[in-house]
């Protein structure tokens, strides 16, 4: 029988270990690496938001850049035009921008298309948003919106100064950990179970008495909101919202993370994002090598270990526990529960 408590604790520990590992970075790395680590942390949740849709409810998105950019531009606009707005509220509104885009798009597209057709629509709509950004003066056209300041948060009993890159980095990793844990909880709670049921068999779920489209739309909006939150959090870090983040290549990133790390596991995109960041860093001096490496690696993963790295790990463990079945029975449960 599934031990839900063990499963929850295991994943909380995984999240805490991840947070701890990221928290060490400022002590051991230079500012360039710190910057990269911050982006990787954001990418992890960006990847999780995509896989929430793909593995969580069975919707394929080729246009996640539109949400990411929606959040980033929303945040940049608020910071510029309403500088007195509290930072956290601005973040929430930025995330809501992505949710709104997802809602508008989802209402139209989910009724008409599914599968690959739906995916192509997301791609088209995302490109539309990219073009819109590059043509709108209000959004800075090709230059983007620059000079976004990092915040000083008023806490009532004092202030939290996040203007330095390091301070803001800590804000990022804590925020991302919280969102990741929230997503895990949602996916493993009744609503998440239902979404998973929809992915596995829509017809069966409908004939349990569930309005499929309503739930798909809900999942789409949640995914868009989380992706936009990532974009919104990134903007004060990089201090710019540029049109590149709305480009289709950004939409491919969470897909790459997920395929590398393993779509079938909750933390798959996280592993993929970290690996992707490491490759980026390792090949930073040689232009184009990073794309080649990622391409080759992706090919290798898809062809040789279709379940991604975590999928491989899980299979290994399953095999090991099968051979050890006669010896220890107790430990096995906690192992197989990990990463579910």
């Amino acid at each position: 029988m599934i031990d839900y408590r063990v499963r929850f604790r295991t994943n909380l520990v995984i999240a805490a270990c991840g947070l701890a590992a990221f928290a060490v970075v400022p002590f051991v790395a230079n500012s360039g690496l710190l910057f990269l680590a911050g982006l990787v942390a954001i990418n992890i949740v960006f990847g999780l938001s995509w896989n929430f849709l793909f593995s969580g409810v069975g919707l394929l998105s080729f246009g996640h850049a539109m949400f990411f950019a929606g959040g980033a531009y929303g945040m940049a606009l608020i910071t510029r035009h309403v500088p007195e707005m509290p930072f956290l509220l601005a973040l929430v509104l930025g995330a809501a921008c992505g949710g709104l885009i997802a809602l508008v798009f989802g209402v139209v597209a989910l009724r008409r298309a599914s599968g690959v057709y739906f995916a192509v629509l997301t791609l088209a709509f995302s490109e539309l948003i990219h073009i819109l950004i590059t043509k709108t003066t209000f959004l800075g056209r090709n230059d983007g919106l620059t000079g976004i300041p990092r915040p000083v948060i008023e806490l009532g009993f004092g202030t939290l100064n996040l203007t330095s890159a390091t301070a803001y980095y800590y804000f990022i990793i804590i925020a991302m950990t919280l969102v990741a844990v929230m997503m895990w909880c949602f996916q493993n709670a009744p609503a998440g179970r239902l979404l998973q049921a929809i992915r596995q068999d829509q017809m069966r779920t409908a004939f349990l008495g569930t309005p499929i489209q309503g739930w798909q739309l809900t999942a789409f909006v949640i995914s868009g909101t989380v992706a936009a939150f990532c974009g919104a959090v990134m903007v004060p870090f990089t201090q710019i919202a540029s049109p590149e983040i709305a480009y289709w290549t950004v939409s491919t990133q969470p897909i790459l993370f997920t395929l590398l790390g393993g779509a079938g596991q909750f933390w798959g995109p996280a592993v993929g994002a970290i690996l992707f960041g490491a490759i980026d860093y390792g090949t930073r001096t040689m232009h184009g090598l990073s794309e080649i490496t990622v391409g080759v690696l992706l090919l290798a993963v898809v062809l040789i270990i279709p379940g991604g790295l975590l999928g491989l790990l899980k299979r290994r463990r399953a095999a090991a526990s099968k051979s050890a079945r006669s010896e220890t029975a107790g430990e096995r449960t906690s192992e197989t529960e990990a990463g579910k």
């Binding site: 029988m1 839900y4 929850f8 709670a189 239902l194 017809m203 004939f207």
Partner: protein
């Protein structure tokens, strides 16, 4: 007797192919109504139309005195229909136990509203207990933790039946519940279905191929042939009907 379902003058075609022509169909509360007919007669299509999987081209369907003709499948389920599929549909990658949990939680969501879904992660104790009860009732004990996709054919059917029961339906619709089973599994399944029907006070609507199953379960028999009903009534009378013998029973 109260009439639980009442379909009038249903027409259904797929493109040019007319599958159901002027079919009227009643389901009385408490009966076990079996629909038979040669392959391609339109039994599954009738099921689809009644359950809301597909819309009829014309005609009307009443459920508990309410017009449900324009309602989608999930809405009819919320009004008391539970159904299985000719090829069992279950959540393949979930364990059998989780399949049941999802079904029970869905019923609670329909009964108590959306908020029943929030505020906790693991299924509530009552849900787990109910799932365990269903497991024992339907004899699924040995297969709980395996991914449902790896279950035997018969266990899949049983699991699907258990999921439908978890919805506490008034009407249970089973499309060829014993298809593909060995003779011994088949009589086992018949026993299970009549057990369940008695225990839950269900109204049953099923299609079936196997005559032993038909006469083991049916309190009313309807024969469908080329998309039209040619006989309907008490099983032994239908069996004696000359036209029925000619088109269907005679072949066996």
């Amino acid at each position: 007797m109260t009439r639980i379902m009442e379909a009038r003058a249903m027409h259904k075609s797929y493109g040019q192919v007319k599958v159901l022509e002027d079919v009227s169909f009643d389901l009385e509360e408490g009966e076990a109504h079996v629909v038979i007919g040669p392959n391609g007669a339109g039994k599954t299509t009738l099921f689809r139309c009644l359950s809301g999987e597909t819309r009829i081209n014309s005609g009307s369907i009443m459920l508990n005195g309410q017009d449900v003709t324009g309602l989608a499948g999930w809405q009819r389920v919320q009004r008391g229909i539970g159904r299985s599929f000719q090829v069992a549909r279950i959540f393949q990658d979930m364990s059998a136990f989780e399949n049941l949990i999802v079904a029970i939680e869905t019923r609670e969501r329909s009964e108590k509203g959306l908020w029943a879904s929030f505020g906790h992660i693991a299924p509530r104790r009552a849900v787990m207990d109910e799932a365990e009860r269903l497991v024992h009732e339907l004899g699924l004990e040995g297969t709980l933790d395996d991914p449902a996709g790896t279950l035997s054919h018969g266990d899949k059917k049983r699991l699907e039946l258990a999921m439908s029961l978890a919805l506490r339906p008034k009407v249970l619709m089973l499309d060829e519940p014993t298809a593909g089973m060995s003779p011994s599994d088949r009589s086992e399944a018949v026993r299970l279905i009549s057990d369940v029907r008695a225990r839950y006070g269900l109204t049953l609507l099923l299609t079936e191929h196997d005559m032993e199953v038909v006469f083991g379960l049916a309190t009313r028999l309807t024969v469908l042939h080329h998309g039209a009903i040619i006989a309907s009534g008490e099983p032994h009378k239908v069996r004696a009907d000359a036209r029925v013998r000619e088109v269907y029973l005679g072949q066996h």
